[in-house]
Amino acid sequence: MKQTEGVVTIVQEGRFQLSDDAGVSHLFILSHAASGEPQQLETLQRRQSRVRVRYRPARNVIGLIAEAIDLLEPAKSEDARQ
């Protein structure tokens, strides 16, 4: 399975945009088989956490299916440090 790293910049329902190190944005749809839930994405976006996303391509859609999201570093914001 392919993987990429970056920061979650936009979240809408179970869809999120990940900006990678090159500044390229990728659109992901959280798979129904993923262990996370859509409401957890918002926290990742708010804390600007660095994550690794394992994904597979989607058929007939310009987007990728996120199968797993791993947190790579401690969160930066104040509420995350608490």
Partner: protein
């Protein structure tokens, strides 16, 4: 040109914060919880630019789908779906005798264009069919799917008389237009209405929109467009079968089916009593038959 007096307070090209109650400047309405909001789509001024489709996809982070050519004129999205919450229909209507007719009707381009969307029905059948309560009425009288509660059962899909709600097979949940619920909460006009260059899509308080639509209808009738009518306004076509009225209603100039809209949409709940009686009668009949065969 009418400019809202508050606009003068924001003359910079880049702002360091969101404008409070921005919808007052862009749509002339202050968004407040407890009131009914919706869309009035005047199809006579739609130019088929698809700005609404793009704005919707951009704001809601929706992926492009249905890749390839549909083979249906300039339509590339095909229909409303889990990933397409605004769909601009292109209907070729050259002349009175169909697309091969050489004679054009006066003041008519030969194309009908309409930006279709979830109707946010007053008595929403999708909401009535939802067993988990994932579909709910917001404080703005709109209908939204809560993603954390939706279990993907799909009951809402056949319940919708307009074929709007759709299940995304990738995340297994139901999706449809939220009438930009997050934007409304932030005092912003929905993305599609804000991007519409001809004001074919108008956002506002429902009673105000219905009044505006009636005025526009009378104006069109006076100009000789006698076939214009409102679809989804109270008491009119589209607001049938117990739906009462649609929060997203349309001004059309052709029969509803030309725009791929149902002529007389109904709530499936209206048919529950009849269906239950038919089911019970069938069971009773089969039991009687089995009893007679046994004898």
């Amino acid at each position: 040109m009418n400019v809202h007096p508050r606009s003068l307070d924001y003359d910079q090209s880049s702002l360091d914060r969101v404008i409070p109650n921005e919808s007052e400047l862009t749509a002339g309405v202050v968004i407040e919880p407890g009131r009914s909001y919706g869309f009035f789509t005047d199809t006579t001024v739609c130019i088929g630019c698809k700005a609404c489709e793009v704005a919707c996809k951009e704001w809601n982070n929706l992926p492009a789908d249905n890749l390839g050519l549909t083979g249906e004129s300039y339509d590339n999205t095909g229909a409303l779906s889990a990933n397409t919450w605004r769909h601009v229909s292109f209907i070729e209507r050259s002349g009175a005798g169909g697309v091969r007719d050489n004679a054009q009707a006066p003041f008519q381009s030969g194309w009908l264009m309409m930006s279709d969307v979830c109707k946010h029905c007053h008595n929403a059948p999708c909401l009535e069919a939802c067993p988990t309560g994932a579909l709910f009425k917001t404080e703005f009288d709109t209908v939204v799917v809560q993603q954390d509660i939706c279990n993907g059962c799909g009951y809402c899909v056949p319940a919708c008389p307009f074929g709007v709600v759709d299940i995304n097979t990738l995340d297994g949940k139901a999706h449809k237009c939220t009438l930009c619920y997050d934007r409304l909460k932030g005092g912003l006009e929905p993305a599609c209405a804000k991007s519409c260059p001809t004001d074919s899509i108008q956002f506002g308080e429902l009673s105000d929109l219905q009044q505006r639509a009636q005025t526009r209808l009378e104006q069109l009738h006076a100009r000789g467009v006698t076939n214009a009518y409102l679809y989804g306004a109270p008491g009119g076509p589209g607001a049938t079968g117990g739906l009462e009225h649609l929060n997203a209603f349309f001004l059309l100039t052709e029969r509803p089916e030309i725009y791929n809209l149902p002529v007389a949409p109904t709530r499936p709940a209206n048919r529950v009593a009849g269906s239950l009686a038919a089911g019970l009668a069938a069971v009773a009949g089969l039991t009687l038959l089995a009893f007679l065969l046994k004898e």
